[in-house]
């Protein structure tokens, strides 16, 4: 039973080994000339000015809510996509009805301006 998982196990070992070899060789072989620019959090030179543990706008929640809904509805598309050739015309029409209902919701969201940031 467990032997079925052997390839995955081997893959994991390879991945681990590869990653550690890369990181270690970088450490050992690479030149080290630190300067303040390089040591800052973002090497682009932008100073991080305040803590990241801050309240963020409630608008993010709105987008997150809408995202959850439309994201999860996709769950129904996968089983349909696998079997739609066996479901015939009816299955096709039903899925389009389903997507139409989602579109109505999407239309409503856009018209109400829920996706506008300002």
């Amino acid at each position: 039973m467990l032997s079925e998982y052997l390839p995955i196990f081997i893959l994991m070992i390879f991945a681990l080994a590869f990653a550690s070899v890369m990181v270690l060789s970088n450490r050992i072989l690479g030149p080290k000339k630190p300067n303040p620019e390089k040591l800052s959090t973002y090497e682009s030179g932008m100073e991080p000015i305040r803590t990241a543990r801050d309240r963020f706008s409630v608008k993010f929640y709105l987008v997150a809510m809408l995202f959850i809904i439309f994201d999860i509805e996709i769950v129904f598309l996968y089983p349909w996509a696998v079997t739609f050739d066996k479901l015939g015309v009816l299955g096709y029409v039903e899925m389009f009805l389903f997507i139409f209902v989602l579109l109505v919701g999407y239309f409503y969201i856009i018209k109400k301006g829920a996706l506008k940031w300002e």
Binding site: M1, V58, Y61, L62, A64, M65, L66, I68, I69, D71, I72, E73, V75, F76, P79
Partner: protein, 100 residues
């Protein structure tokens, strides 16, 4: 083959953790997460049963549960935001205008 009872015990444990969380925690968002845990433990039981019995009804039900849970979370977040805008708190002990 992992026996069915293992799935069921795991599912029961998760469900109990969820129930306890709902009863003990006071932050509305955390309570939500616990309710999600309850629903997902049911999903686990359904999938376990489904593979044990050998028909697909349980797996089908899981899809519906996922979607319903997402809808519930969305509505929940919306209500929590409305409360936060009015009251600036999500602690359910402070949300007590109506006798609980």
């Amino acid at each position: 083959m992992i026996p069915l009872s293992w799935y069921l015990f795991l599912s029961l444990i998760l469900f109990t953790i969820g129930v306890l969380g709902v009863l003990i925690r006071r932050n509305a968002i955390v309570i939500f997460m616990c309710i999600e845990l309850m629903l997902n433990s049911v999903n686990l039981a359904l999938v376990g049963f489904s593979s044990y019995i050998g028909n697909e009804i349980g797996q089908m039900l899981v899809f519906f549960v996922l979607v319903v849970a997402a809808a519930e979370v969305s509505v929940g977040l919306a209500i929590i935001i409305a409360i936060f805008r009015n009251r600036l708190t999500v602690n359910i002990d402070e949300i007590n205008l109506l006798k609980w």
